[in-house]
Amino acid sequence: MSPLRGDLEIVANWVEEGQRVLDLGCGDGLLLRHLFEQRRATGYGLEIDPEGISQSIANGINVIESDLDKGLSDFEDDAFDQVIMTQTLQAVQRPDQLLSEMMRVGRTGIVTFPNFAFYRLRWHIAVRGRMPMSEALSYAWYETPNIHFCTIRDFEALCAELGIHIIERRVLSHDLKRPLIGGFMPNLFGEIALYRICRA
């Protein structure tokens, strides 16, 4: 099968052999398929988009049509080893509540999101005076499903508030590579942020 997108490759490497995983907003299901096949993981993907659901089914994963804005009430506390949410946090109505739900149903979590403080996005607003668009944020403001943008600093502040411990952070630049100077000023040079989290 085709290799995973760069950010998903990192996520996949954070999942251990045989873990039970829940993927929130699983899209076409390719990440879960990779985890099922390469890591002998088990679990489910949740998705709301009809096309994503059909693609996930075609990719052989278990997918449940669900609205993440309604929480994760289908799942018991600690039902999963890992709860994964890639590029979905910014599209839900209450990211804070969903993060808390993640930490209820999973022992650990993986969250990735587009960093709104990425320097190119800052340039869009500061210089051009327009809402930012980039490869990771390819929608115009009026049609975007991404309704809650946050920056690396925002996210870390929220985690502190919610009592969520950050185990590890990675940032990627716009071509999904590790930014050369990203370790130095991640909130400026990181386009995509990836976190491993757990309850503090």
């Binding site: 039970r20 489910y44 009809p50 659901i53 089914i57 075609a58 278990n62 049509e65 289908d74 018991e76």
Partner: protein, 384 residues
């Protein structure tokens, strides 16, 4: 049968039947000494008999699920939307089998069949059968056809309940369970509708305690009312509104101030009821509604559906329709939840459709697409 067959139709089909002389012990405690099952098949069984799909019908369905069973047939089988070349149950890949349930009135042994003890129609003496009984008869049909394991058992409504029961009762013989617009049990409201339907039939003066075959009468009015009531519950308010609104047959005329047919919806319902009476037996209708009412696989496990499903090994595909208020998405979701709780493999789609419960019979594009995607996966697994 249309002169120009639609490209994705299985075309002209013929029913078959098989007689079983081995007695069948029923859940009600009675025994049937022998019985016949009528069935149709579409597609070709492969060499290792791994590509067979069992399709289970709903309350008023039968074994004629696809294609045209007579040269002069105007309508195809009841699941034409999903069975045929290139459709979700793709007959180029799968061997699809659909039988008329025991107790039916279209060729399988039922109330209209001759009771060997009396030489007359069973009528009201035909024992009440359950979904579990149907599973056991369908397993015998599988034996007869040389199928040790179905690639999938699929159905909508009461048919979906049979797929669910299959997964619980004979886990080693079912590869996948396809449960569409079904429920883990009927709600009180559902049982109430069934009871009104039964009372309509049973209170018809021509019912004669179910022994109407001896009199030459048939409880036509009662069965018609039962069907009219049922039909209302299979449609959504929106679907009825869109189809009929308040249209009247004599659109420009004044109200007639009589009780004859005026509104289009009255005409439609009467037509549905009348044409149903010509093709369906009242005792079968009673028995089918009772099988629905009794269905509750969780009952034997203190009401815990997860416990009932613990034995199941088949992955599930569960689907519901947004406007279905007879078997609403919440009922399907209960099945999904029970499977999630015990870490069973399941996929679930809640399909936006205005047709109400009947949506499972309709060519709804998203329904066909997601069902098809799942069946592609099943086909790949069995090399079909």
């Amino acid at each position: 049968m249309p002169v120009n067959l639609p490209a994705q139709s299985v075309g002209r089909v013929s029913p078959q039947s098989v007689h079983f002389d081995e007695p069948l012990m029923l859940e009600c405690g009675q025994q049937l000494p022998a019985y016949t099952l009528a069935y149709e098949t579409y597609g070709v069984l492969n060499a290792d008999a791994s590509n067979a799909i069992l399709v289970c019908h709903a309350l008023s369905g039968n074994h004629h699920a696809a294609g045209y069973d007579r040269d002069d047939a105007r309508k195809p089988g009841w699941w034409e939307a999903c069975i045929g070349p290139g459709k979700p149950l793709d007959t180029n890949r799968f061997f699809v089998v659909c039988s008329n349930n025991l107790g039916g009135c279209h060729g399988s042994t039922g109330p209209t069949s001759e009771d060997p003890k009396t030489g007359q129609a069973y009528g009201a003496d035909f024992p009440l059968v359950t979904v579990g009984d149907w599973v056991r008869t369908q397993a015998r049909l599988a034996d007869h056809l040389g199928i040790t394991r179905w690639a999938a058992v699929a159905g909508g409504s009461l048919g979906g309940m049979q797929a669910l029961q299959w997964a619980i009762d004979l886990p080693e013989r079912i590869g996948h369970a396809i449960v569409i617009a079904a429920a883990p049990r009927l709600s009180a409201q559902n049982i109430a509708f069934n009871e009104v339907a039964r009372q309509a039939i049973r209170s018809d003066p021509d019912f004669h305690e179910g022994r109407y075959a001896l009199t030459g009468d048939r409880p036509r009015t009662g069965l018609m009312l039962a069907r009219m009531l049922g039909h209302i519950t299979y449609l959504s308010e929106a679907a009825m509104g869109e189809k009929f609104g308040r249209e009247r047959r004599n659109e420009r005329g004044a109200f007639g101030f009589h009780y004859g047919v005026e509104f289009e919806v009255e005409s439609y319902l009467r037509h549905q009821g009348e044409s149903f009476v010509d093709r369906f037996d009242a005792n079968t209708y009673l028995l089918m509604t009772k099988a629905l009412d009794y269905f509750d696989p969780a009952a034997a496990y203190d009401g815990d559906l997860s416990k009932a499903l613990e034995r199941a090994t088949a992955p599930f595909f569960v689907a519901s329709f947004t406007s279905d208020w007879r078997f609403p998405p919440a009922a399907s979701h209960e099945i999904v939840r029970a499977l999630l709780d015990i870490n069973k493999r399941v996929s679930y789609a809640e399909i936006e459709a205005d047709h109400g419960h009947d949506a499972f019979l309709m060519p709804v594009p998203r329904y066909q697409e997601v069902f098809g995607a799942y069946m592609d996966r099943v086909a790949e697994e069995v090399g079909a």
